[in-house]
Symmetry: C2
Subunit: 134 residues, 2 copies
């Protein structure tokens, strides 16, 4: 990767938390990995919609997300499927539809979504406007 040494040098002068014997930037590996997934443009929104709706068809996701372009949505869903967050299911029923839903792994992102929602309500919605008619 790079040299996190300088960072750590600095850290010891600052108020860095005591980190494990790993001692390198690995300490943030967990968030880093998750951030790579979550820090993609539509990931969080997709997960959120899937969480609320339970399961979605492609076109429903598209419109629920405000008209994402199908290429992007397709790519993102494919990636999320690879990562085990979303499951794709082909219903061979009468109208042969495709349905996307969250896996266990994906469902467990609810904590993140919830935290994000409450943060948003406190800091984003609260002072600005009245988007939530609750």
């Amino acid at each position: 990767m790079n040299s996190p040494v300088e960072a750590l040098d600095y850290v010891e002068d600052c108020s860095a938390p005591a980190m494990g014997p790993l001692g390198d930037s690995r300490y943030l590996c967990s968030v880093e990995e998750a951030a790579r997934i979550v820090g993609q443009k539509w990931t969080l929104q997709i997960v959120n919609v899937l969480m609320d709706f339970g399961e979605c068809r492609f076109c429903v996701l598209q419109s629920a997300l405000g008209g994402v372009n199908p290429s992007t949505l397709s790519a993102r869903l494919k990636k999320l499927e690879e990562e085990g967050i979303v499951a794709r299911e082909q219903l061979s029923s009468m109208p042969p539809h495709v349905v996307y839903r969250l896996t266990d792994m994906g469902s467990h992102l609810s904590g993140v979504i919830n935290e994000l929602t409450s943060w948003s309500r406190t800091w984003l919605c609260a002072g600005i406007a009245e988007p939530t008619a609750s």
Copy 2:
């Protein structure tokens, strides 16, 4: 554009939350807004580093994040500053340094980071086994 009507039709059959007369995808505004911020490539990592280190100089952030390119980091920090998540402080002390730190708003993202971390530990680090498609 397309027609979000189908989405709502679908929604009412599924477990969608009761949404106002707005009738479109606005119902997820809170997460949507937050996702726009958090769903940027380096935002979460920056917040995480700032949260751990307390305060950081530019170059420290750069190395801690694994060598992000300075243009991107600069742009992201500027944006985060505008949004009120990060505060920039110019220290006029002996070596005139610049320090970045989280504002209250930014600090309150800790819940998100924590959830993300524990999710990551459970599903990314710990069990790289199989994603059980529920």
